[in-house]
C-alpha cells in the first residue's frame, strides 16, 4: 500500500565507506567480458550475481539477469545496475545466438535491474514492464541516479539512461510474447516488493523469472507492502514452474520451495511488529528488534531488516 524508496540510504552509507577503500571487483578485461551465464533449461539463460550490497566494489552487478531465446528472437530479463553490465549481458547473448533481441523486460523499478537498459536501445527492441513502471521510473529514477553518482565510480554511472517501457502489462491481463515457437507469459502483480513487479514464465521449459518477488540468501526488501506480498504469495506459488530464477540469490531452484524462506521471514517480522504495536513499543524500537530472530538466515540483514521493520510498522499500525 505504501511505496517508498529503498536501497538509497544503505547505499549512501556503504558507498561512503567503500568507495575510497576498495577497488572495483572487475579488472580491465573482466570489465568488458561477456557476463557469465548458465543455460538452466534449453534456450533459457541466467546470470547469478553475487549477493552483496550495491557499491563501487560490486560494480553494478548484484541482481540476477537472464534471457530467453526463441526461434525468431530473444527476450532479455533485467539489465543490471550499470550500462557496462547491460553491455556485458548483450555480449553474453551474442555469444550464444545471432537472433535479435526483440524485448527487454524490466521486472521492476529498482536501479540494480534497470540501469543497463541503455545497452539494448535499438530499432526493433521493445521495452516491457508493469503499467506502473513508467511512473515509478519518472518519480524515483532521478533520485536513484543521484545516489549512483555519490556511491559509484564514474565509469559505473556513465551512460546510464532511464528507458521506460512502452509495452505495458496491466494487472488484469497477462501479456504473452511470442519469440518464435516459444511463448513467454508476463504477469503484473499488485503491490508486493514494489508496486510494479512483473514475473516472466517460459511455457516451453516451465522456467519462472520472479524478479524480486523471490529473494534467496539476500534478505527480502519490502518496498511496497509486506501484507500485499504475503497475500499474493499463494497465487505466486501456484505458477506451475519447474525451476525459478529469483531476483537475488541462487538461480535454478525448485518451486515453490523457493518461497519458503521469505514466507517464514515475513511471518516472523509481521508477528513481531503486531506484538510491538499491541504492547505499545514505538517505531524506533520495532526498527531495532522486529524480525531479529531471522538474522542468522539472511545476508545484508543489518541493512534492510530495519527498513522493512520501519515500513512494516507503519503499514501494520493501520490493521
Amino acid at each position: 500500500m505504501t511505496k517508498r524508496l529503498t536501497l538509497l540510504t544503505a547505499l549512501t552509507l556503504l558507498g561512503a565507506t567503500l568507495i575510497g577503500g576498495l577497488r572495483p571487483a572487475y579488472g580491465e578485461n573482466a570489465a568488458s567480458a561477456p557476463l557469465p551465464v548458465h543455460e538452466i533449461a534449453p534456450g533459457v539463460y541466467a546470470h547469478q550475481a553475487p549477493v552483496t550490497a550495491m557499491n563501487a566494489a560490486s560494480g553494478g552487478d548484484i541482481a540476477n539477469l537472464g534471457f530467453i531465446v526463441g526461434d525468431d528472437a530473444v527476450a532479455v530479463i533485467d539489465t543490471g545496475g550499470a550500462l557496462v553490465i547491460g553491455e556485458r549481458l548483450k555480449k553474453a547473448i551474442e555469444a550464444v545466438t545471432h537472433k535479435p533481441v526483440r524485448y527487454v523486460i524490466n521486472t521492476h523499478e529498482h536501479p540494480d535491474h534497470i540501469f543497463g537498459n541503455a545497452a539494448f536501445v535499438a530499432p526493433g527492441v521493445t521495452f516491457v514492464g508493469h503499467k506502473n513502471l513508467p511512473r515509478a521510473m519518472a518519480e524515483r529514477g532521478p533520485a536513484y541516479l543521484a545516489t549512483w553518482r555519490r556511491v559509484m565510480t564514474p565509469n559505473l554511472v556513465d551512460g546510464i539512461k532511464l528507458v521506460p517501457p512502452t509495452l505495458l502489462v496491466g494487472t488484469d491481463k497477462d501479456v504473452r510474447l511470442d519469440l518464435g515457437h516459444r511463448v513467454i507469459d508476463l504477469h503484473a502483480w499488485p503491490p508486493m516488493h514494489t508496486d510494479c513487479d512483473v514475473t516472466i514464465f517460459d511455457e516451453k521449459t516451465a522456467t519462472l523469472f520472479t524478479g524480486d518477488l523471490v529473494f534467496l540468501q539476500h534478505v527480502p526488501v519490502i518496498d511496497a507492502s509486506v501484507l500485499g506480498w504475503m497475500k499474493a504469495m499463494p497465487a505466486l506459488a501456484k505458477i506451475p514452474a519447474k525451476r525459478v530464477v529469483p531476483g537475488h540469490g541462487t538461480i535454478d531452484v525448485d518451486w515453490p520451495q523457493a518461497l519458503a524462506a521469505e514466507k517464514t521471514y515475513f511471518t516472523k517480522l509481521t508477528q513481531d511488529l503486531r506484538g510491538f504495536i499491541a504492547r505499545g513499543a514505538d517505531i524506533n524500537q520495532a526498527a531495532k528488534e522486529a524480525g531479529q530472530s531471522e538474522a542468522s538466515k539472511w545476508q545484508l540483514f543489518g541493512i534492510y531488516n530495519p527498513r522493512n521493520a520501519t515500513a512494516g510498522y507503519a503499514e501494520l499500525e493501520w490493521q
Binding site: M1, T2, T9, T12, L13, S225, L227, T310, A311, W318
Partner: protein
Amino acid sequence: MRGWQGLAALAAMFALSCVTLNCGAMTPARAANASPDETWKGLADALFPHQTLTEDGTIIKLGTPLAAEDAALVPVTLHMNYTDPDLPLNDPHRVKKVTLVIDQNPAPVAAVFELGSKAGVTKIETRVRVNQNTKVHAVAETMDGKLYVSESFVAAAGGCSAPGGGTDTADGPPLGTIRLRAIKPEYVNSDARRKEAVVMIKHPNNTGMQMDQETHLYIPARYIESLRVTQGDNLIFAVTGGISISEDPNFRFDYVSNGSGEMKVSAADTKGTKFAKNGAAEPAM
C-alpha cells in the same frame, strides 16, 4: 503571544522555499554552495530574526535516527522538559511551542507544534520525509519567550518524491480516517495521570513532487495543514504541518490526563477538507 502563529510559519515556509530554493526544484541550488552551518544560519535568521537560540537538552531534545531506514518515513522524537516532566505547568522553562526544521528539505519547516498549557506534554514523535542528507533542528519556545534549539543529522535520500500510497490498492481505510490509539499505561511509566496516545490520520500528504501514474502530471500538493488534539476543551497539542510530514501523518505523544476521558481530534488539509473524531482513545489491540 510571542513568536508567530501557524499561518505565519507556513508563509515563512513558502517564502523560504521560493526565495532560497528555486521554488520546488528537487535539488536546491543552495546545497551546492552553502555549507550545512550556513544553511541553518540562513534559516534561523529568517525564522527567528534577532533572537538567540540556546542549546539545552533539558528543555528540548531532538531524537532522530543517524541514517533513515526509510527516507519517506523517518521517525523524529521531540522531548520537551523531559528531565523534569513534573515541572509546574506555568514554570518559565515549560515549552509552549516547538518548530521542527529539516534544513535541506524543499520546504524546511516540517511542523510547528503548539503545546496545551495544561497538558504537560513532554514527548511528541512523528514521521517525516527527508530528501537528502540534512541537519534537523527543533526550536522550542518556553513560557518566558526564550528560544532553545536541539540539532541532529540524518543521512537519507529521496523521501520527498517517494510516491504516496493508495494509488493501486483500495485495501486500506479511506482518506481522512482518524484513529486514536491509547498506549497501555504499563508501557509508558508508573505515573497514573500521565498517558500516552497515538493520533493517526489516513492521508497521502502529497508533496506536489509525485507524478500521477495515468496522466504523468505532477499531483498537486495536498497535505494536512493543521491538526488539533484536545481532551475535553483543553488543548493537548496543535500542529501546523507541511509537506515534510510523511504519508498518513502519525503523532505519538504523552500528556497529563484531565480526567475527561474524551479526546477530540480535528484536522484540515490544504484542499479545505475537514476531518474530525471524538471519543476515548482505543485501547491497544
